[in-house]
Symmetry: D2
Subunit: 93 residues, 4 copies
């Protein structure tokens, strides 16, 4: 089971809102809205997605990494390495 | 008229794809997919949104800023300031 | 001549401060400071460098891009393309 | 003791190189180097600082978080929360 199930409804709600925001940006493009206003909206969606990522990282550390650290040295190391790679992709995206 | 109308269809296609990817992430959460795999997908969507932003910035510079620079000193300065603010929001998001 | 000479002293002052902050981080590492405190300091330096970049982008748009837009279509396009590439590197770094 | 001492020399070497690069950027500004070339150099330094941060995060997870997870639930939770906050600052910087 994944580490975020306690707040699953919350993630689903946030992702549905983001989906609606992306649809709103498409509508702005379709209606020839001024570029700067579209850019502002794209930045807002990017920030919302980042907040989802940061929540997932924290949930992952709290559950999967902590559990693995308790199970064995090897399991802990493997999960830390995997989490660090995901964090690196996040920082670089 | 906005500065990106020549490639409007291209932006709409990319935004529809991003909308579908966000819906896919919601599905992954709903099916308890492993957090790291969801994070990878969220990073991909963030990168796709960034590419849209960078395209909009370039279109804006090519059309609105260049036209304003030719119209008058004040118009040029105003558009440069506005573009610089949008770029700052983008870099910080 | 570069587009930022009016505020050259300001940039030099900020860069000297950043250099001192990087030296401070090395000292923190050398003295085995707690990792989280070092991370906070590295984030502060990254933000300061970003502010320098955003200032340079705005100066570049105000001077080089605006001048090129007035000189000719080709010169304008070339400078816009070059600026857009630099902004993309900035957003992705 | 901090979680990165095994590779302390490596961090110090990287930070000294970054300090030299920042000094190089100041020299470029002083010599009126073309803005785009300075921006490229600033992006390189930002990336180098990010790599230092990501190394520190991984070291922190491997040592402090793993040790705390084994010590007690409360200690684990506290370190995870602190690490998540530092990662959020990093992603937003």
């Amino acid at each position: 089971m994944a580490g975020y199930s306690g707040t699953k409804e919350d993630y689903l709600k946030r992702l549905r809102r983001i989906e609606g925001q992306v649809r709103g940006i498409a509508r702005m493009v379709d209606e020839d809205t001024y570029c700067i206003d579209i850019l502002t909206q794209v930045s807002a969606v990017t920030k919302a997605l980042q907040a989802v990522s940061l929540g997932l990282v924290e949930d992952h550390l709290s559950h999967c990494v902590v559990d693995a650290a308790r199970a064995s040295d090897e399991a802990g190391e493997e999960k830390v390495r995997e989490a660090a790679d995901a964090i690196a992709r996040l920082v670089r995206s």
